[in-house]
């Protein structure tokens, strides 16, 4: 006799169907697939929320798993798997992905043949069936998901074929719900207590919160007048489209409106010229059937700075120097409007020509010491900076000593000391803010041709500066005979360091406030009318080096300063 397969008409199913219809309207208002935008907080905001009041407990809306639930085989191998709560709470307004994995396996019941008198073979889908259920409608043994008991399906699955395993679906809801699941539609016959097939296997429902779309700027911070380009991406979607457009939202008052430069609209990129702090918002980002919104991080506004440097900072005449202008923040768009060369004395001194506005880095030959100044336009700002370059007859490669201004100070101090027949001293420092050297006079409490008393400078008076050297002047030529008042005698200038000079250097290095301030590595230079002598720190106090070397014949020889 012909065998006709039939749907099990389970009488208990009918009232449930009515409840489904009744609840469908209520749920529909909360379920959004493509129609309602749900603003998704920017990633930065979400991160802030998870760390509040010292508790690092992720919020339910943070990306990550929400839970899972396993559906066992249909009761008696034939009946529906009743609606049951998965216990998984679905948070509102965040993209949700549900994954159903696992198959049901069908094997013929040997007791069915003798009971019914024919071999049923396998069901239409064969021996296994995925979460989509059978292809016929209603879909036999399909795993349904709803936000209420007996409710409408919350999402469709993909892939959609009956053998697919796993399958996934996406949705957003407007309120907080519990996820329910069931296999309401069944297939198969029971002969007495003997089902056609034994069904084995299980299917697991897993839910997770997906990460929000990301709007990434190409720079942050930016300077006013700068162009900032944004790109929207949905990390978990193979493709996405923008349907709701872009919007610049100011986060500070008073700045001119941002202007669209390119993209925006339905593009996945958008560029604005901005003049104040703010962020970009993208609406109607369609991904996996959901409509999402996203915002960029707040673009901070930075006041730009321009820095001009020279390398090297000291050269011999006609030496080559490379000038470089750079801007902070480095991401800012900017241009040079002019370079200005100003020699310390006279005119010219640079060849073959001054640097041009087309060059952010330029290399020139110098024959005079002087200042190079650059003027740059950075967004709505105009900034200038300058750097000094020394051209000296010869290079010593000693910190500070190849600076033409320090050399001039040495000449002036020696000339003045000789004229007055008084010892003198000054202090050479490096200033990190100007990347240059300077000097400070250290006046004597008392001074003669053979002795000077003075107070060491306090580090607190020189923030941002580090000592390079203390410079002490003996106003004589080596071998000069002079009258020393404190000794009431004549003596012959021996040149170099006196024993007290050496002791002074050791004392300076050991001063507690110098140690505290990190003023521990500096030279001690002595100049007379012929030579410069240099003491440098040793590994420890008392092991200073170069004690006796005649370092530079600065006023004669082959390199007269």
């Amino acid at each position: 006799m012909p065998f006709v397969h039939f749907q099990v008409q389970w009488s208990g199913l009918r009232p449930h169907g009515l409840i489904r219809l009744a609840s469908a309207g209520a749920i529909a208002a909360f379920v959004a697939c493509t129609d309602v935008d749900r603003t998704v907080a920017p990633a930065a905001t979400a991160t802030q929320d998870t760390t509040r009041v010292g508790l690092h407990r992720p919020l339910a809306t943070d990306p990550g798993p929400l839970g899972s639930y396993t559906l066992t085989t249909p009761p008696d191998n034939v009946h529906a798997t009743a609606w049951t709560s998965t216990g998984i709470t679905i948070p509102p307004s965040v993209p949700i992905k549900v994954t159903i994995s696992g198959t049901l396996t069908f094997t013929t019941n040997p007791a069915y043949l003798p009971c019914r008198g024919f071999d049923p073979g396998l069901p239409p889908w064969g021996s296994t069936l995925g979460p989509n259920g059978g292809t016929a409608s209603p879909h036999d043994f399909r795993v349904h998901l709803s936000l209420t008991q007996n409710g409408n399906d919350v999402t469709n699955y993909s892939p959609s074929d009956q053998g697919a395993d796993p399958v996934a679906g996406y949705f957003i809801v407007g309120g907080q719900f519990t996820l329910w699941t069931a296999r309401p539609d069944t297939y198969g016959d029971i002969c007495g207590t003997n089902p056609e097939w034994f069904i084995s296997g299980s299917q697991t429902v897993s839910a997770e919160v997906l990460a929000p779309p990301v709007v990434t700027p190409d720079k942050n911070p930016a300077v006013p007048g700068d162009t900032v380009s944004f790109t929207v991406t949905v990390p978990w979607a193979a493709s996405d489209t923008v349907t709701g457009g872009w919007q610049w939202i100011p986060d500070s008052a008073g700045a001119p409106n941002a202007a669209v430069v390119r993209g925006c609209g339905a593009s996945s990129t958008c560029s604005y010229v901005i003049y104040g702090k703010g962020h970009a918002q993208v609406n109607g980002i369609i991904a996996q059937g959901m409509s999402l919104s996203a915002t960029s991080p707040v673009i901070a506004i930075a006041v730009p700075t321009l820095k001009v440097t020279a390398a090297p900072t000291s050269v011999t005449p006609n030496g080559s120097v490379t000038f470089t202008a750079s801007v902070t923040p480095t991401s800012a768009s900017w241009s040079i409007s002019s370079w200005t060369w100003t020699p310390d004395s006279g005119s010219g001194g640079i060849s073959p020509n001054n640097c041009t506005a087309a060059e952010k880095t330029c290399t020139r030959t110098l024959s005079l010491s002087g200042w190079m100044k650059a003027t740059a336009v950075i967004g709505t700002y105009t900034r200038t900076d300058s750097t000094h370059v020394s051209v000296v007859p010869c290079l010593t490669h000693v910190d500070g000593m190849d600076d033409s201004r320090i050399r001039a100070a040495v000449k002036n101090y020696v000339a003045s000391s000789v004229a007055n027949q008084l010892e003198s001293q000054f202090f050479v420092y490096y200033d990190s803010s100007t990347n240059g050297y300077g000097f400070v006079d250290l006046p004597s409490d008392s001074a003669s041709v053979c002795l000077a008393s003075w107070h060491p400078p306090a580090p607190s008076g020189y923030p941002g500066r580090r000592p390079v050297a203390f410079f002490h002047v003996h106003p004589d030529h080596v071998g000069d005979i002079y009258y020393c008042p404190s000794d009431h005698r004549y003596e012959k200038a021996g040149g170099g360091f006196s024993k007290k000079d050496y002791s002074t250097y050791v004392t300076l290095q050991a001063l507690p406030d110098y140690q505290t301030a990190g003023w521990t590595h500096f030279d001690f230079w002595v100049a007379d009318e012929d030579f410069i002598y240099r003491l440098t720190p040793g590994a420890k106090l008392g092991s200073e080096t170069r004690l006796n070397s005649t370092e530079f014949e600065w006023s004669g020889g082959t390199c007269k300063w």
């Binding site: 008393s453 107070h455 002490h472 080596v478 170099g496 006196s498 007290k500 000079d501 001063l511």
Partner: protein, 147 residues
């Protein structure tokens, strides 16, 4: 030159004054015989300073400074420290005579080759300079050097 460091706390200054006073009345390392002049047997940092300085100057091939000071060019082993008491006494007497004072100077005596002696009293300063006398081989004064 000398640094005036007035940031030393008052209490520390008092201690330093007391120590200075004790050193004045009970100078360590000195012998009774040394009190009468002759070799200074205390080889402190002044000794090493002078030894190092004049060895460098005397052996410096760049002769400007050396010649200005009237020192012949020597090899390192031609610079020697004299410790025999007869020479020291002679040097100390010459130093006292050259200084025209009545002090019994204890001195360091350095032989600079065969023609020069450098004699130094480590306590004798002129301004910031140690006073050393350059003598010839017979202790005739050549120059009073600020060192």
């Amino acid at each position: 030159m000398q640094v005036v460091n007035d940031r030393v706390p008052r209490a520390q200054r008092i201690v330093l004054w007391i120590l200075a006073g004790l050193l004045t009345f009970f100078p360590g390392g000195r012998t009774a015989s040394a009190q009468s002049g002759g070799c200074d047997t205390v080889l402190d940092d002044v000794y090493y300073y002078i030894d190092s300085l004049y060895t460098t100057v005397a052996t410096d091939s760049a002769n400007t400074r050396r010649e200005l000071l009237g020192i012949p060019r020597l090899t390192q082993d031609q610079v020697g420290f004299v410790t025999d008491s007869a020479t020291c006494n002679q040097a100390a007497a010459a130093y006292t005579l050259a200084e025209n004072d009545s002090t019994n100077h204890q001195v360091y005596v350095f032989r600079l080759g065969s023609t020069r002696y450098l004699v130094v009293d480590r306590k004798k300063y002129g301004g910031e300079w140690l006073i050393s006398w350059l003598f010839d081989a017979s202790f005739t004064p050549i120059a009073r050097l600020g060192t």
